[in-house]
Symmetry: C2
Subunit: 141 residues, 2 copies
DNA sequence: CTTCCTGCAAAGGATTTGCAACGGC
DNA sequence: GCCGTTGCAAATCCTTTGCAGGAAG
């Protein structure tokens, strides 16, 4: 946990930015929460532990993390952007339209097929998102 | 073309809505354009042929079409929602991050694998979106 | 002491809503 | 005539920006 933050702070400095106390706190909360948080969600968590930190700072910190590659934004179609930590292996999402929960999966075969499709179309892949919307196990009961 | 509009108008009436001249015009333009239009795009097209139609009506008409299943919204990550006609077979998208062009593809194997993933997770699929971002053939030159 | 960061308020863009007039059935 | 639709303006939601003060290097 601390190593991650230190690595990020090091990269921040290397890219001409600064590592402030405030920013460190936001990053710390973000990584300790872990889920698929909206800015709103993260702000709420941050506020609880550090009441003096403002909304805009959370936004800007997430943006910086995304630039450095430590956060990934995803659009689940509910109007607000979600962010997740980008330290783990690539994965895709099962999104429950009833409760909003987000589950992750990784299917190597699908990845392979995507590359195939790209090659067939002379398309150079930079990124991809696969979102499966539906009803999760819990909500089917 | 006309059959489609008539089918939609019939469904509109059946679902307690109405089929007005204005709405018909918007629907007509939407289907004649065909691409992956933003509300802005469609509004511009509509305005050109029927200057009296308002922005909000385009929004609302697209929403109605989506409800009835004749339009699908997709988020390509550029801030505004795109809409496409939903009469064709399901397909996924290659989105060029340089020129913004959107290409379509369909890979049955991927569909099968998605169903497999869902089954493994006891997840009932309602829908899915697979967006591959990258650089298209044209823009690689 | 220069540059970046912070927090507030204010601006911005996309989308939705309230409301009075209008149009379909 | 009743109820959905239209168009305008205003409101709303999420996100970004301007700016003055504060902190980092």
């Amino acid at each position: 946990m601390d190593e991650i933050i230190e690595r990020i702070e090091k990269e921040l400095r290397e890219s001409g930015k600064k590592s402030s106390r405030t920013r460190r706190k936001v990053i710390e909360v973000f990584f300790s929460c872990g889920g698929h948080l909206s800015v709103e969600d993260l702000y709420r968590e941050v506020k609880q532990r550090y009441p003096d930190i403002g909304y805009v700072t959370v936004y800007r910190t997430l943006k910086v993390l995304e630039e450095l590659g430590y956060a990934t934004s995803l659009d689940v179609g509910d109007g607000s952007t979600r962010f997740e930590t980008a330290l783990r292996q690539h994965h895709d999402h099962l999104i429950c339209t009833v409760c909003g929960r987000i589950y992750e999966f990784f299917e190597p075969e699908i990845e392979v097929l995507q590359n195939l499709v790209a090659r067939k179309n002379d398309f150079r892949i930079l990124d991809h998102t696969l979102h499966i919307f539906g009803i999760c196990k819990e909500c089917q009961k």
